[in-house]
Subunit: 268 residues, 2 copies
């Protein structure tokens, strides 16, 4: 949804028959190709339940059911195999790897991951990091993976693991972009006054980030910086409401307008 | 020390005879007038001891001895009474008030405060907020004073208490500047890789901030934004070493050079 404001999107994913939404309806009118969406009648959809703490940044997982995500990954349709900009959303690194292998010649691959894969599946994650161009990760995960508390140094240690770019998301404290060439960019979060639900902020950030790269067709550092800014802005709309309501109530012009506001707020 | 890189400084303060430093020696060669420094032979110097936690932002006070700060404030020398840019460093709000009353016609007054005054001396603090132009405060204190978790809203509630500008310092997450006119500015911290001791970061920030205002002689919002950036940069040198070592090992040109680096790091 977040990326579709910028560029056509090809969605690959798998849900069970228990999914309470009709995804064709959810994405109606959006430039999102659902040919890669698989519904497994005998399986149950991934579910997560958690509690956000006072600062809306840290959260506790109350219940995690991998369900269908613990099974074989969905098949990438033939019509998707020429994709150039690929985002591997958070799932088991082995599955991310299997999905990536189905893309013929990607130009830029970014991946998300999370604490349970860093802790329990590092042997799968490390080879994946050598196959991708960019890791998008939150600050606690960066510290865990980099084995380093200072985030700039953690970022540098993660870059040593292979991929050329790392984006560290710090919630309401913004984000840091580091490249293996030594370039750095730091951006505060959009100073939102109304935060209803931060769920999906990270995925919305990744969607805006990848969407801008795909739209511009470039991945130089200046474009990556703008992509971080677009990701920041899209996430700021997501957290203003529950579910996809924040994104459903805006148009592309609202994103561009808030990007200019963010630029004004941060320049001196 | 931080402000003296920018502008002549007139220091007003009081210490006991137990102070382990010769302050004339500490400030030798700096443009700091010590005519307002009082040494009370029968008193003991203020002391603080604390423990920094892993993230270097939160800390626990292990020991606090107000000592001489619990006594009458020092006298402002006649030669200082025409000062235009005044910073009331953290002490009891009643003492800050008594110090400010000795300045004839200040152009811009900023004050720091801390949790113990917000909790225990709000009746003294609130009238002070109506007499100053700017409150410089850290994020926990802003939440406590504004009775609001969201920092942008906390800033707005603090502005309602009277002063025209509030600066909220968020440690390694940067700072937010809000004015009663509705202007806002958000700046990340300088992405430092070597943090030895954050003690004094807030005072160094205030010194750089006030120093730039005094040097430029202006307090419009663009100048305030630059002042926040200078404060951020000066603090980044302070935390790289213990005591004043970080500031003793640099020159003004190092500050300007890092300001340009910070500008490059944050622009898109």
């Amino acid at each position: 949804m977040a990326a579709s404001f910028f560029s056509p999107v090809r969605l690959v994913g798998v849900i069970g028959s228990d999914c309470p939404f009709d995804l064709a309806e959810v994405f109606a009118g959006r430039n999102v190709d659902l040919a890669g969406l698989e519904v497994r009648e005998q399986s149950k959809t991934f579910r997560w339940a958690g509690t956000y703490h006072e600062n809306m940044d840290s959260r506790t997982t109350d219940r995690l059911e991998l369900n269908v995500l613990a099974e074989a990954p969905p098949r990438v349709p033939d019509s998707f195999r020429d994709s150039k900009f690929v985002f591997l959303a958070n799932t088991a690194p082995r599955l991310q790897h299997q999905l990536l292998e189905q893309i013929r010649a990607p130009a830029f691959v970014a991946a998300d991951t999370m604490n349970c894969w860093i802790e329990g599946h590092l042997d799968d994650l490390k080879p994946l990091l050598k196959k991708i161009d960019c890791l998008i990760i939150n600050e606690d995960e960066a510290r865990m993976l980099g084995k380093e508390h200072n985030l700039v140094r953690a970022g540098e240690k993660i870059l040593d693991m292979g991929q050329g770019v790392v984006v560290i998301k710090k919630g309401e404290s913004g984000s840091i972009l580091c490249s293996a060439d030594g370039d750095k960019f730091v951006l505060p979060a959009y100073p939102a006054t109304d935060v209803k639900d931060p769920t999906g902020a990270g995925d919305s950030f990744a969607g805006g980030f990848m969407g801008h790269l795909a739209q511009s067709g470039k991945t130089d550092f200046e474009t990556l910086k703008a992509a971080v800014a677009y990701g920041t802005v899209v996430a700021s709309f997501t957290i203003a409401d529950f579910s996809l309501n924040g994104l459903n109530s805006i148009e592309r012009a609202d994103i561009d307008s808030r990007l200019e506001t963010l630029r004004k707020l941060t320049q001196f």
